[in-house]
């Protein structure tokens, strides 16, 4: 690893700065932001059409850094693999849950940029449970801000007309109140083409630049029924950071959903299951489709958290094909029984 450092003078300088800071964790985050900085750099290279030699060189170095990062990240121990909370209000459940993982500062360091990706797919009010609970999103933004985040961006590539989705979901208002920034997900120009190296069916995708460039990515799906894929949770929610998702539908949707998780790795996942759309999903027809379940799941392993959410919904992980496919790709583990799970029950 040291030799790697030596071969990149800029990076070494960066690490020296990191050493002045106290914790090893902070240092890791600095490494990570440097990696993201490189992603940005790569984009600039492409834009400026620098020679192919330089480009491939950068790509190779990138690859090495990513591997290194994967190894380092697993060193960062959280007290639990998964936190499940039930019985409280959406925002309060999050406060309890994140506190049990050591607080938001475990995930967000001062002066970092954060991007939150809720489900804001539909022009429907919060009671319809087609979108993530606005109170939860507001609270997550607040927590990020309190942890010292420089900017907290929130966006979704919506299915209905986006300004109406942002408004009627209540998310725009909640985010603005909490000091976050709403960004459109409906302009193709914000999406950058990336390679999905680990994908079987999905090899390329155009991903929103905030996902590529932000230091911290928090995925906040709502648990709901889905006509095509049975269930929509964290993995399905990632379709909203992609522009060219029509391709997914025509090239084995379930496989594409799983493939994308090999590339897109949220730093934190919060599953909103306060109100759950039990049928006619993912859009729902009326409030009669909604059950108030008052659940929330917090974790990092996208397979584990989706598997747990499936059980909350009343199904088994094997019923939801993309969860199984993602596990096969080695993205995570669906065997919750073997994990350290913190179960919190709130209220009476």
């Amino acid at each position: 690893m040291l030799s790697l450092f030596r071969s990149f003078p800029n990076f070494r300088k960066h690490i020296q700065v990191c050493h002045k800071l106290d914790t090893f964790d902070t240092c890791l985050f600095e490494i990570k932001s440097y990696n993201k900085y490189l992603v940005m750099k790569r984009r600039d290279f492409i834009r400026n059409s620098v020679g192919i030699g330089v480009l491939s060189g950068a790509a190779i170095s990138m690859g090495k850094f990513s591997e290194m990062l994967a190894a380092e990240n697993s060193l960062m121990q959280l007290p639990y693999d998964l936190v499940a909370i039930k019985g409280g209000e959406a925002a309060e459940m999050f406060d309890k849950g994140i506190a049990s993982l050591g607080g938001m500062k475990q995930f967000v360091k001062p002066n970092q940029t954060v991007v939150i990706k809720p489900n804001i797919g539909w022009d429907a009010p919060p009671e319809r449970a087609a979108n993530t609970n606005p109170l939860l999103i507001g609270r997550i933004v607040e927590q990020c801000k309190m942890a010292g985040a420089k900017t907290v961006y929130v966006f979704d590539n919506t299915c209905s007309e986006w300004t109406r989705c942002y408004k009627s979901s209540g998310i725009e208002a909640a985010v603005k109140k909490a000091g976050g920034t709403m960004v459109t997900g409906s302009s193709e120009s914000y999406y950058q083409a990336v390679d999905i190296k680990g994908g079987k069916s999905l090899k390329k995708a155009k991903v929103h630049e905030l996902i590529l460039e932000s230091d911290v990515f928090i995925n906040v799906p709502v648990l709901k029924n889905h006509g095509g894929t049975r269930l929509s949770v964290s993995m399905k929610n990632l379709m909203g950071v992609v522009w060219d998702r029509e391709y997914w539908h025509s090239h084995d949707l379930q496989q594409c959903i799983a493939d994308f998780t090999t590339f897109c790795k949220p730093d934190l996942i919060v599953v909103d299951a306060y109100r759950v759309l039990k049928r006619n999903g993912p859009r729902g027809v009326s409030v009669a489709d909604v059950a108030t379940m008052k659940y929330q799941l917090i974790g990092k392993d996208i397979v584990a958290i989706d598997a747990a959410a499936t059980k909350v919904f009343g199904l088994e992980p094997r019923d939801v094909k993309h969860i199984m496919l993602a596990e096969q790709l080695g993205v995570g583990k669906s065997n919750i029984e073997a994990m350290k799970v913190n179960r919190i029950t709130m209220g009476a």
């Binding site: 300004t163 120009s189 539908h249 859009r283 027809v285 379940m293």
Partner: protein
Amino acid sequence: MSQVHLKVIRVVISVISLLLISALFIDFRELIPTVWADRILFLQFVPSLIGFITLMAVATTGFIFILVLTAFFGRVYCSAICPLGVIQDVFSWIAKTTGLIKRYKFKKALDYLRYPVLVITVGSLIFGGLFVLNLLDPYSSFGRISSDIIRPGIVVANNGLAGILEKFKIYTLFRLNLDLITWRTALIPVITLAVIIWLSLFFGRLYCNTLCPVGTLLGFLSRVSLFRIKMDVSTCTKCGKCSFACKSNCINIKTLQVDHSRCVACYNCISVCPESSIRYERAFVRSGKTGIIDNSKRDFIGKTLIYGAALAGISRRVMGQEVKERPAGRIPIKKNHPVSPPGSVSLANFTGRCTACHLCVTACPTSVLQPSYLEYGFLGMSQPHMDYSTEYCNYECTKCGEVCPTGAILPLTVEDKKLTQTGKVCFILEKCIVYTDNTACGACSEHCPTQAVKMVPYKEVLTIPETQADICIGCGACEFACPVKPHTSIYVDGNKVHQVAKAPKIEELEVEHTEEFPF
């Protein structure tokens, strides 16, 4: 007393009205509330007239107001209220200041053109075809130019600026997609604009006095209006300045007479007259010349009436919504009718009342309302239709009906809109991805607001669409979302007459509550 202030008043009013109407048509960020559309467009002659025929409501009496105004003050509509008239003045002003044209000259009225045009327009209107009116109506032409040419131009500028701000991580401006504009639908506004620019640069208000049916119609009234331009023979030195300044070429300096049918009350002549001998005054006596109607003219009008009626007859036959051949695809879909916007009642009602001003195209938040090409037939060209290849109709939105000035799209409450069936869903199983590829999809059902398209169990864990047309409202979400391209496997076939859809059935949800965590 000098009357120079009249021109100032005219210019101020015309600029205000041009800015207001332009803002309405360019408003791509939905900043202007829809209620303002009615207020701003109240005085626009053609939409108000069509709206009156449709609705008979107080909100559509603007044209009566204009008629009265013209009877009193001449064609002030043309000089200060009509947006197309005002932009022509802008071009004329450019021509004057750049020296492109030095002076206007008196010319005889092109009666052989303007009366037939009016007769054909009215004739075809009576017989149910709006095609001619739509092409010539100044308000609608202006609407199309703003909505289809200027608005995209401004969006390009917006996108450029948004791109710069984006580099600084400022997302207040955002880019809008521009891929909806096609040359086929932009054809009419582009030609109109070219003609308008050419005419106004070199011939002043020639469009208003030959091609514009509203101008010709109001000309009948302005001929006998109470206030009009008069020349004082005793003080006039025949210097000719008024005639040179007249955009309508209607001041004859030799006979010292003004053709009031063509005068658009711009008051330019008043402001240039060194002797103040040209004035805007009450006229009790009709000037001799313009009052005479000779028989040849009558003959001519008679003939054109017959011609107009014949044309209208033709237009009615072509008006029918026949099946249109589409470019061959893998399996082409066969739509029997186009889809007209919710609130338009029926295809016949819509095509018979829409002047194609494209205000709804601008107002539509999803851009599903697009100018048509041949969807409604040749004579319905550029009347907006629901284009599900570009977008789909938002379930909760009723904007098009709220802004429509002619009543071609009637305003609906959200509740009524949700039960207004503009078309019905059609599903071709053999084309569906779940059927052909044995992979999951469900994009159609995912977007369906009423679950008229529902995913039902198929093989193993797969689900496949099942349709229920009676609860379908024809919003086109399924067709838009279907990944089978170019000819989708699910689509909406328009209803010739809109129907009332059944409300989606709402059943109680049975939920069993467990006290323990399920894992």
